[in-house]
């Protein structure tokens, strides 16, 4: 066979393959953003494929920053972020971007002291530990919260996330909410200038360092802590009650958190006797005016499903679903999407 024949054949094969792919083409909806909700989103897309086979979702977990950038650049149909977008970034958008909260998660404080006793901590103590003001485990402030627990005379080694993350955003938001000094000196962000301690990359990096270092204290996502059976502290909430992190206590916090109309809210230190204080929601970012009517329609259908039936799948894999009152408010917002 000469070369020209070969090329012709190759072209023919390509043409046939192309037309076959075209015939069975599903609508592809692209999204990108936060890594924290990736497991629940991929479960949703998976389950939804059985409900509506004509649409397929492609989600890339490139981080919240990436999600915000991509939705602003309109390279994706929806973005996802663990923190609400700033006014500055929203101003850059070509249209109105809606924040659609989907699920919430908690951040727990894990530690490595011999015997792994269950510790109780409060906001002020946690701030002092992470500012490097409390340096010993048997400090009077920690001891006062944990009567009956023998605390070692050991140096505290603070471990935080080194990579920018929604987990750090929630944790530093909490420290800012309970301490004016923290808010002034450090603030809340996906990355901050930590006053002390070591940085580990990812939940596994922090957990690894905490596990390996006697006297270490760090923070990880609740789901990660549960999967890896890490010890974590009960925290004193805004009502003065000690609460353990769980799906129920996070949903309770969601129910009592003050949520403004644009859904750009923080839910740290929410009131209520059973609300866990260090928790945060995650959002989908969607243009109110959809460019492609067919895609917009499918996207809205998916959102309605996700916020009702989809929410029921959340707690199975460790995410806190939206409480009913908020669910209704969010569905009303989804109904405002135009296409």
């Amino acid at each position: 066979m000469n070369t020209i024949q070969l090329i012709r054949r190759a072209a023919l094969v390509a043409l046939v393959a192309g037309s076959v792919a075209g015939a069975s083409a599903q609508m592809l909806i692209n999204g990108a953003g936060a890594t924290f909700p990736y497991p629940i989103y991929s479960k949703w897309f998976d389950s939804y494929a059985k409900i509506d086979p004509s649409v397929r979702f492609n989600y890339q977990s490139i981080g919240s920053g990436g999600g915000q950038k991509q939705i602003l650049a309109q390279t994706v149909d929806f973005g996802a972020s663990d923190g609400p977008m700033s006014d500055e970034n929203l101003d850059k958008a070509s249209g109105k971007i809606l924040h659609i909260p989907t699920v919430a998660g908690a951040v727990v404080v894990t530690y490595n002291i011999s015997g792994s006793p269950k510790l109780k901590l409060d906001g002020a103590t946690l701030v002092d530990i992470f500012r490097g003001k409390i340096t010993k485990w048997n400090d009077a402030k920690i001891a006062a919260l944990n009567e009956g627990v023998t605390l070692p005379n050991q140096n505290i080694i603070v471990v935080h996330r080194s990579d920018g993350s929604g987990t750090s955003y929630i944790f530093t938001s909490y420290l800012s909410a309970v301490s004016y000094e923290w808010q002034q000196e450090v603030g809340a962000n996906t990355s901050v200038k930590w006053p002390s301690g070591l940085g580990g990359k990812g939940n596994e990096g922090v957990a690894g360092l905490v596990k390996q270092t006697p006297g270490a204290i760090g923070y990880v996502e609740l789901i990660y802590a549960k999967q890896n059976k890490l010890a974590y502290a009960d925290l004193k909430n805004a009502d003065g009650k000690f609460v353990s992190a769980s799906i129920e206590s996070v949903t309770a916090a969601l129910a009592t958190a003050r949520i403004p109309d644009d859904f750009r809210f923080k839910m740290v230190n929410a009131p209520g006797p059973v609300a866990y204080p260090i928790s945060g929601a995650t959002w989908l970012l969607i243009y109110q005016q959809q460019k492609d009517p067919a895609k917009g329609k499918k996207l809205v259908e998916f959102l309605k499903w996700a916020l009702t039936d989809g929410e029921k799948l959340a707690s199975e894999i460790g995410y806190a679903p939206l409480p009913e009152a908020i669910q209704q408010r969010v569905l009303n917002r989804v109904a405002e999407i135009k296409y």
Binding site: G65, S86, G164, G197, L198, K201, L209, Q212
Partner: protein, 322 residues
Amino acid sequence: MAEINSMTVAAEMKPPSRVGDHVFKWITGLMAFSVLVLIVVVGWELYKGSNLAVHKFGFKFVTSSNWDPVEENFGAWPFIFGTLVSSLIALVIAVPLSVATAVFLTELAPPKLRQPIVSIIEMLAAVPSVIYGLWGIFVLIPWLREHCFPVLQKWLGFLPLFQGPIYGVSMLAAGIIIAIMIVPIITSVSREILRSVPDLQREAAYGLGATRWEVTRIAVLSYAKRGLCGAVILGLGRALGETMAVTMVIGNRPEVAASLFAPGYTLASVIANEFAEATTDMYLSALFEIALVLFAVTIVTNILAQLLISAMGGPRASRAIQ
């Protein structure tokens, strides 16, 4: 007669076409040139991306030690320091190890042993960076913290380099991990260079009654020193840019400390850590400028190293890497 015949035939033949040669020359030239273009484009893109930060912070960006994403105050000095120091530690550990290994393999090892050792060393180069990182967290760090560092502190604690609290994750741990990762490249390039030393050199030295050590030192190492430096530069290039494993063991603390036991941070690590979640323009721009600085640091260290080599003089035995 036969000779005359073939000569007349050759004279009657058309001169061979030179088109192939020209095409070959142009294609290879284009390839070589495209690498240069690539470097310029990368540099230009980084400069463009970092415009905002360059204008806001100016030269202070490379001298300031403050890195505060909340206040949007950015200074890269701790990262530059961390990159240079961790690479230096890596070279201090890896160079003697690699050169000695290469000498053993070319000069001393029985032939049967050579190939297995070479294969094992080259296998080290094939292990992904993240695996070294995990091994670092779970094996190397605990061992360093429990056994190695306390001993170092006990015997060398009078030096500021070995003072302060021991966390395990540290500049020294990062240097050790990088050393392991650059040993294969330095070793295999050094081995090629030592093999290219002409046997005449060795024979001449033996002829003068030199011992094996003297032959290696005078006839081989001294002859090959420029090439060996080239091998070290290749290792240095890898060390400066190493990201994943370093991030996992260095402690990620943007601070300049005298102690090697203290945590540090590198340019490559901060980009890998913070780029994905950076949302504001200034923050992104500062990370771009970090990349620009890393680009510059790499180029400057390479130029300095090249100058060092050409200043050394001696016969050019660095063919193997040129």
